[in-house]
Amino acid sequence: MHAHSFSPESAGRRRACVLGLAAASTVLGTWEMHRLLSVRGTTAPELVLVALFSLCFGWIALSFWTAVAGFLQLAAGGRLPGLRWPTAEEESAKLSSRTSVVMPIHNEDPAAVFANVQATYESVAATGHLDAFDFYVLSDSTRPEAWVAEELAWAELCRRVGGQGRIFYRRRTDNTGKKAGNLQDFCERWGRHYDFTVVLDADSLMDGRTLVKMARLMELNPRTGIIQAPPLCVGRSTLFARLQQFAGRVYGPVVAAGAAAWQLGESNYWGHNAIIRTSAFIEHCGLPVLPGQQPFGGHILSHDFVEAALMRRAGFTVWLVPELGGSFEQPPPNLLAYAQRDRRWCQGNLQHLSLVMAGGLHPISRGHFLMGVMSYVASPLWLMFLMAGLVAALHDGWVSWMHPAAQPVDVGFDTVGALRLMSVSMGMLLAPKFLGLGLALARGEDAARMGGRAKLVASVLLESVLATLLAPVMMLFQSHFVFGTLLGYRVSWTSQQREDADLPWSEAARRHAVHTAVGVALAVGTFALSPGLVAWLAPVVAGLLLSIPLSVLTARASLGLWAERAGLFLIPEETEPPRVLSRAQDVTEEHAVAPVADAVDHVLTDAKAHALHLALLESQPGLEAVPVALASARRKLLGGSVEPLSAPEKVAVLLDAGTLAEAREQRLTRVAS
C-alpha cells in the first residue's frame, strides 16, 4: 500500500510552518556564518566548516521551532485535530475490546519489575475495567538466577492480587530478535486473543486510567495503529537522574507537544508505553532481516521506529498524545549508565539509515529515521565542527603559533557578528528550556509543586549549567559510538543498570580518562594558539576537564536527595506522587524478593521453587535442554562432583524436569541419611 495521509487538513500548514521556519533559519544562519568566514575569501576548510555548521544549526533550528510549536499548542490549550475523543457518555461505558499489557524483560531486578506490574494492575482494577485487560511478563532472561527469581516473584504477585489467569509469565529459551522477537513471539502465540496490546518496558509504570483511555481511543479510531503516551522519567534519587527527571518534566512537554503538533497521525513510536492495534501489528509489522552484515544489516535493533513506519505504510496512523499523562519510566541513574544505553540505541538508530529510502514509506517516517540518526550523528558533527574551526582559523591566519606581539593587529574578524551568531545559536538551543519554564511559571500550581517560582528558576539555571558541562562528555561518548558503529563494532545487548548505586572514582577515572585528556589537549592547544580562543571553548574544555568528578558526584543519591530537600529539581510527581507511583514504591519495599544465589541449588532445596518450576516446565511442553550441557551437568550434579555448574549447564538442568526430580530426591535422601 502506498503512503497517504490520514492526518487532518491542517497537517500541511503545520508542517510547512515548522519545517519551513527551520529551513529558513538554517539558510540565514549558514549565510551569516559564511559571511563571517569569508572576510579573507573562502577557503576549503571554511567550506567544510560552513557545511558542518549548516547541519548542526539545522538540527538546532528544527528542535527550536518544534519547541515553539509545542509552546503555542500548550499555551493555546485544546486538543490536536485528527483523533476522535470519547464523549462523557462513551467514557462511562464498558470497554468492548480486550487489551493485553505486555512487559518484555531481560535479566532485570524482579522485585522492581513485578512491583510495577502490581501497581499498574491494581490501578486498572480501580477503574473497574480489569476484565478488559490481561497482563503478560515476557521474559528473555538468560541468567538462570534471574529466571528462577522471576518465577517466584510472579507466583507471589499472583497470590497477592489473586491474579492467576490474568497475569501471565512466559520465558523464552532462545532470544531470537531480542525485544522485537520477544514481542513477535507473544503476537504469534496469544496476539489473536486481543484487540490491542500495550507494550511496556521493564521499568514502565502506567496509570490504569491512562490505559483505559488509550484502549477507548483505539476503539473510537479504527484507523489508528499506535498511540504513544510519552513517558515521564520518575522515581530515581541520584543527582544525574533527578536532573533528567526535572528536564523531562519542565522541558519535555514542550518538545513532545511540538512534535505531536506537526507530526499528527505520522508521529513516532518509542517502543514502550504505547498501545498497538494487535491485528494490524501482526499483519503489517513483522520486521525484516536487513541484508548485509552489522552494523547496517542483520536483525533490526531499534524496532520501534521501523514498526511505526510499517504501520503507517499499511495505512494506519501513529499518534503521540502527550495529554494522556499517567505514563512513567525511570531514567538511567548516572552518566555512564546513560551512555551505555546510548551505545545500544546509537547502533539501532544508525541502522535506520539504510531504511530512509525504502519504498512505500511516508515522508514523515523517513524524517523520523533521519531525526533518529541525527540525534547521534549531531555529536560527531559538532566535534568535527570544532576541529574544522581550529583548522580554518589556523589555515586562514586568524590565529597562529606566532607570539601575540608578532601577530597582525587587525585581522578583520567580525567578532561582534560572531558573538551575535553564537548568541542566536545558544538562544535556540536553550529556548525549549525557557519556554518550558515560562509555562511552568505561568501555571502557579505547577510551580508551587516544583518548589515555588524562585526555586524553579534556580533549578532551571543550575540544570542548564550542569547540562552544558555534561554535553561535551556526551559528545565524545556519542562520537565514539558513531565511529565505532561505522567501523563495525558489535553492540552487546545487556540489561541496563537501574539501581541508584554510587559510582566508584576508579571506574569514573577509567571511563573518562580520555575525555579529560582531550580537555587538557584542547585547553593547551587553544591557549598556545590564541589565549582569546580559550574563552570561546571554555564550556567544552570545562566539561571535559571536570568529567570525572562530574560523573562521580552526579551519580550520588545523597546529592540528589540533598537537592530534593533544598527544593531543587523538584517535580510534581515527587511532591505529590500519583497513586500508581507511590504504590509501586511501597510494593517494592514491602515485598523485596530475596536474591537467588544459585538457581539450581534453590530449585533443589526450596520446595516452593521446586514445585513451581516443575509446574511451569510442564506447562511449556517441547522445551529441550542442550544435550551436551545436560550430560555434563548430570555428571556433576548426580555424580557427587564438587565442581560448580556453568551457566549453560544450569539452564540445561532447569529445562529438564527428570534431572531436577532425580537430583532433589538424591539430595533429600542424602540429607535424611
Binding site: H284, P291, M357, A607, A611, Q620
Partner: protein, 161 residues
C-alpha cells in the same frame, strides 16, 4: 526422614526404602515433620497390596492418591498436569502448615480450597497460533529499478532468505 528399621504404622509395615521414597515425595508438598510424613505413608499404603510396599509402586500410589485429592479440590479431572500444578498451588498456599490431616479428612475447608484454586499456576492462556509475516522493504527502489533495467538477478529486498 531417616527410617533406619522397618516401621510399623498401625497395621501397615513399611520398608525403609519405601518410606524414604514416600517421604521424598511428600516433602515436595512441603511436609517436613516426621508425624506428618508417617501419617501420609500410612494414608498411601493402607489397604495397598504387596506391590505397594516396593518404593516405585508406593510412590505411584502416592501420586494417584494426591492426583485424586487435588482433582477433587480443584474441580478438575485427575491426570495431566493436575499433580504438577496442584502441588505448586499446595506449596504456594503452604498447605503443609495444616498438617497431613488435611489430605486425609473427607472434606477440605472452603477457605483453603478457594485459596488452592486461586493459586494454581496459569503461566499462559491457550495459544492461538498465527504468523507475523516478515514485511518486505525495497531499501533502494531506484537501484532496484536500474537493476531490473540491466537484468540483474536479485533485488535489494530486505527480507530473510
Amino acid at each position: 526422614m531417616q527410617t533406619s528399621r522397618p516401621s510399623t504404622l498401625e497395621s501397615v509395615w513399611v520398608r525403609p526404602e519405601t518410606r524414604a521414597a514416600l517421604d521424598t515425595f511428600f516433602q515436595g508438598f512441603g511436609f517436613t515433620s516426621d508425624e506428618d510424613l508417617a501419617a501420609l505413608a500410612f494414608w498411601v499404603l493402607a489397604g495397598a497390596c504387596e506391590q505397594g510396599e516396593r518404593p516405585q509402586a508406593a510412590v505411584a500410589l502416592a501420586r494417584a492418591r494426591m492426583e485424586t485429592w487435588l482433582a477433587g479440590v480443584l474441580g478438575r479431572e485427575a491426570g495431566g498436569s493436575v499433580l504438577a500444578r496442584g502441588r505448586a498451588a499446595f506449596v504456594l498456599c503452604d498447605g503443609a502448615r495444616l498438617g497431613a490431616g488435611l489430605l486425609m479428612r473427607g472434606s477440605v475447608p472452603d477457605n483453603f480450597a478457594r485459596k488452592l484454586r486461586a493459586a494454581v499456576p496459569v503461566p499462559a492462556p491457550a495459544q492461538v497460533p498465527t504468523t507475523m509475516p516478515e514485511q518486505q522493504l525495497v531499501l533502494w527502489p531506484f537501484g532496484d529499478l536500474l537493476r531490473r533495467w540491466f537484468g540483474a538477478a536479485r533485488a535489494d529486498v530486505s527480507t530473510s532468505p
